[in-house]
Structures are given as C-alpha cells and as structure tokens.
C-alpha cells in the first residue's frame, strides 16, 4: 500500500546517486523479499503511474525480483527455504534465523552504452 512512495524514493535515490548518469538509466532491478510486505504488482502499477507524472521515465525498465525466504537451521547447520511461512526445517527444527527474505533493495542498474552495475542500495 506504500508502493508509490517506494517507487518515488527509488528514483530519487538514483537521481541523487547518479546525477550525471541518471538520464542514461535504461533498467532498474529491485529485489523484494517475501517478508518485505511488498506486492510486485503494486510496484509495477505505481511505476506506470509515475511515468504519467514524469514521462522521461518511460524509457526505463523496472523489474521486480521476488526473493524467497531462506532461514538457517542450527541443528543441520544448513539454510532452508521457508515455504508458506512455515519456519521449520525438514529435520523438524523450528528456526527464526532469517537469512534472506526481508530485503527491499535496488540490486541492479543498467545504463545506456555502459556496462550494467550490480549494487545493493
């Protein structure tokens, strides 16, 4: 429900970080963990709405990657994927140590006539 402000913040951050190259951004990739409470459809819709407000963004591709929840099992000393929010390892041990799934970050930016840049912002 707060996706419009998130999308605005993403592009504000990029403008501040790359003032000279901002106009040359062709693609922005956002990673959103399943625990981040982000709905990718709402991010996409918010971006389409932002384009209407700021038409210069129409040439930018915005991709949202959903990251599964990964937790760590102390008994097995292994990471496991949490499915349907059941934080229980195959061995039966519950775990609350989250390794992945809470992220909400800009993970990749591509610029016109430039190499892509992997970042975590």
């Amino acid at each position: 429900m707060h996706e419009i402000s998130i999308v605005r913040n993403v592009f504000q951050t990029l403008q501040e970080t790359y003032p000279d190259k901002f106009e040359r951004i062709t693609k922005v990739q956002i990673e959103a963990g399943l625990l981040s409470n982000i709905q990718p459809i709402l991010i996409q819709n918010a971006f389409e709405a932002l384009i209407m407000e700021e038409p210069q963004l129409a040439d930018v591709e915005l991709e949202v990657l959903l990251l599964p929840i990964i937790a760590h099992c102390h008994t097995c000393d292994k990471d496991f994927e949490v499915k349907r929010h059941k934080f229980v390892c195959d061995c039966g041990t519950p775990s609350k140590k989250i390794v992945q799934g809470e992220e909400l970050q800009i993970s990749r930016i591509e610029f016109l006539e430039n190499e892509p840049q992997d970042i975590k912002a």
Binding site: M1, P40, I41, N45, I51, R84, H85
Partner: protein, 162 residues
C-alpha cells in the same frame, strides 16, 4: 530459425500483441514467459524459452494476455506465457460471501481474479491467507494462471473480455 534469431544482438521489438486467431502452421513455437504481475509492464526485455531476446515496448497500458501472439515470421511464432503461481483459491457459497471476500482482499489493494470456474483467486500471501482463514472462508492453496482479463476491477466489471 530460432537458433539464428537467438544469435542476434538486437532484440525483437514488440509494441503490441498481434491479431489473434492466426494460423501458426508448421512454425516453431517459442514462449516468452512472464510472471502474472508483469503483464501490465510497458517495457521489459527477456529471453524466450528458445533463447531469443525480446523487448516488449508498449505505447499503451493494456496488459498482455496469456497466449498473445508477440511475433510471427515464416518459421517462428513467439507466444506469451504467464507462469502459474501459488494462489489462494476461494469458493464462495453466495454473492454476499463474494462481496465480503473482495472487501477483505481489496483492503490490502491486492488484485482479485475471478475465473471461468467461478473461483475467486488471489496470489498467495501468508498474512492474507491467515486473515481469510480466521474469517472461516472455504479455500485452498493451488497453482493457477492469473489472467489479466479475469482481474476484478473496483467498479465490479471484468477488465477485458477476450
């Protein structure tokens, strides 16, 4: 031909779906796969299952639909495929229950889909599932393809009938 196309440095540019009901004949059929929430994206660049690079660059906001024909040449047809996803599938027993379900889900601004089997579907989300569970609704978690044309709009009509 698909192999040759996959070696191109420039992608195939798609500005809109081609007219439906075209005879594919003996062409190789390749699929451009997207997630359900990407159907409205105006711009996206991906490889097809066969490795052909495609750039969707729509001038309009009409969503793409599962099965849309994106490209057609003498040898190759590229069709859009929406990946199935885990959904909460609800089986309302009355129109009033449909309204209650849509109200609960709508409060979270999450799109609701009603398919031809009169199922109410929403992409799986654990907190939402728990909320609906506490409401005593009959539901299952199952894989479904969420078609943009079956998305329920706030004013109660379906988005686009094919």
């Amino acid at each position: 031909m698909a192999t040759e196309l996959s070696m191109l440095t420039e992608p195939i540019v798609v500005t809109q779906a081609l007219a439906g009901e075209q005879e594919l004949g003996g062409r190789t059929v390749d699929y451009f796969e997207i997630e359900w929430y990407e159907a409205s994206r105006s711009k996206m660049r991906k490889k097809t299952q066969g490795g052909v690079e495609v750039l969707v660059d729509k001038a309009h906001r009409e969503p793409l639909e599962d099965g849309d024909l994106l490209y057609l040449s003498e040898d190759l047809a590229i069709l859009l495929k929406i990946k199935p996803c885990e959904c909460v599938v609800l089986y309302p027993s009355s129109l009033q229950e449909v309204g209650t379900i849509c109200f609960e889900i709508g409060n979270k601004h999450v799109p609701i889909f009603m398919n031809d089997a009169q199922e109410v579907c929403v992409a799986y989300d654990a907190p939402l599932y728990q909320l609906l569970l506490s409401g005593g609704f009959v539901m299952e978690i199952e894989e479904r393809v969420l078609h943009p044309a079956q998305m329920v709009k706030a004013y109660g009509n379906l988005a686009r009938k094919k």
